[in-house]
């Protein structure tokens, strides 16, 4: 079984539109939407949620009013400023449990906390695992790991050979959580100064974790000179550029209509995407 992880560093370069189009092209596979903050892939499919399971984040401290002697030790020990006058601020509490260790009155317990939902959906292109992190919750790296684990399990059960993972932006915990054991990491970039800068950082991240990367350049004709620079950078790092997608209003219109743009056959973007998909399959 192989897993293709699609990331970008910079947000809004077209990851999700591309993943949706790959999902149309691929044979038997499962999709994993690992942008657990703001998952969007389901918006391009006719999908229905068939099962939901809770995602437990780290526990949160709770102080018993009856037992609390107001000594203030918990407040002194808390490194996150989450306790004020024996009251726990749930948003700041990171669940370390140090307050419980510090409390001599035995007034603090750590309670289970549901931080989000993992959802299993059926789509016209196959099964999909995605998630909704609760509003203003942390621990999203762990949720990403859970989504990937569930997707892998389903793929194994169904004997599917491929997992396509739509990753989050950035280079932090969620992205790091997407990289472990990925067979191929596709970095989607765009030919802007910011796109180049963010691509270089995310490629360093993939290298840092010994991943195998490929690059595709979206809207390449917005700036042919920046596109040339991206190709030079990739060449010097020995990273293949698997394709260039031209600026094409078809992509934008498909997004507005909530469908994968590849379904608009023969558009310049679709033709380029077919080539990219072929290259990726060969690499996998």
């Amino acid at each position: 079984m192989k897993e293709l992880v699609v990331i970008s560093g910079k947000g809004g370069t077209g990851k999700t539109s591309l993943v949706a189009s790959f999902s149309v092209l691929a044979g038997e596979k499962i999709m994993a939407d690992c942008d657990v903050d703001a998952s969007n892939l389901h918006l391009l499919f006719n999908s229905s949620v068939i099962r939901q399971i809770p995602f437990y984040g780290l526990k949160k401290a709770r102080i018993s009013e009856e037992l609390c002697v107001k000594c203030g030790d918990c407040e002194d020990y808390c490194h996150f400023g989450a306790i004020d006058n024996s009251f726990v601020d749930g948003l700041s509490c990171e669940g370390c449990g140090v307050c419980k260790l510090a409390c001599r009155a035995g007034a603090i317990e750590m309670v289970e906390h549901i931080a989000g939902q993992i959802e299993f959906s059926d789509t016209e292109y196959g099964p999909m695992v995605h998630a909704r992190l609760g509003v203003a919750e942390d621990n999203s790296g762990k949720l990403v790991a859970e989504v990937r684990k569930m997707a892998r399990q389903i793929a194994e059960d169904k004997n599917y050979e491929l997992i396509i993972t739509d990753g989050p932006p950035g280079i932090g915990c969620q992205v790091i959580s997407c990289l472990s054991n990925a067979d191929l990491v596709l970095v989607v970039t765009e030919p802007s100064r910011t796109g180049i800068h963010d691509m270089e950082r995310v490629l360093s991240l993939v290298e840092h974790f010994d991943g195998r990367a490929a690059v595709c350049i979206n809207k390449w004709d917005i700036s042919a000179s920046n596109t040339g620079e991206i190709e030079d950078i990739c060449y010097s790092k020995n990273i293949p550029v698997v394709g260039k997608i031209p600026y094409d209003m078809t992509v934008y219109n498909a997004l507005k209509n909530g469908i994968p743009y590849i379904r608009k056959k023969d558009s310049p973007a679709s033709t380029a995407t077919l080539g990219i998909w072929d290259s990726l399959l060969k690499m996998l």
Partner: protein
Amino acid sequence: MKLAVASGKGGTGKTTVSVSLAITMAQRKRVAFLDCDVEEPNGHLMLNPVLQHKEMVAVLVPEIDEQKCDSCGYCAEICAFHALAVLPGNTLVFPEMCHACGGCWNFCPKQAITPVDNYIGVVEEGRAEKVRFVHGRLNVGVAMSPPLIRAVKAKAKNDELTIIDVPPGTSCPAVKSVEGVDFCILVTEPTPFGLHDLDLAVQVLHQLKIPCGVVINRSDGLDLTVEEYCGRCKIPVLQKIPLDREVAEGYAAGIPAVLVKKEWGELFSELMDKVEEVVSS
């Protein structure tokens, strides 16, 4: 006033709005631009600041004194973040997992653990003409950005208009960046993705009790669904920024929208006026 520019979805134009707003307002008052997207900072690419000051930012992680450690395993047992593992005769620390809660170094029965600095990134400061500039750069491979975001925000001063560029998403990096601001501008685009993620960002701000308003970027005149949403949620639409090829090409080259089109200065002045109106009401 502290003003955040956020979005939920990435790539909707946060940096375009925050940079152009900073340049426009710096003609009128003292302005500081704080780039809190420490994973992928972009503000410097548009503002080209002269960086004058650099400071390393560290978080505390445990260091084990092998002489005192008797491998009892208590530290690993109490660590909620799985940042410690105890093998016979050897205690391992995984700094990237550590949240610096202090549990292990405060409660080790043999007092064999002390906190030491682990560098996670830098805060750099400088000036971009009239704008005071601050950003953070997270070291590649570091998972946790909130401590660095806090260090960037600590550079805010009270006598300035502080404009904070917020990272995308709705989890801790975004939350830490918007906490404590007076107002948050949410930049969206008129697509299903833009609207979906705008709603998530609005929920976060409601939970944090931060007032907000919406800027529709790349407006193509077909923004009805966004406007209906804002009407339903009683959130003001503060400004619409048209879809413009010249501005997009300027962006690609690293030129702020307001310098590509001088007449757009008015658009951003108006935006600030509306923000001030909402904040004061």
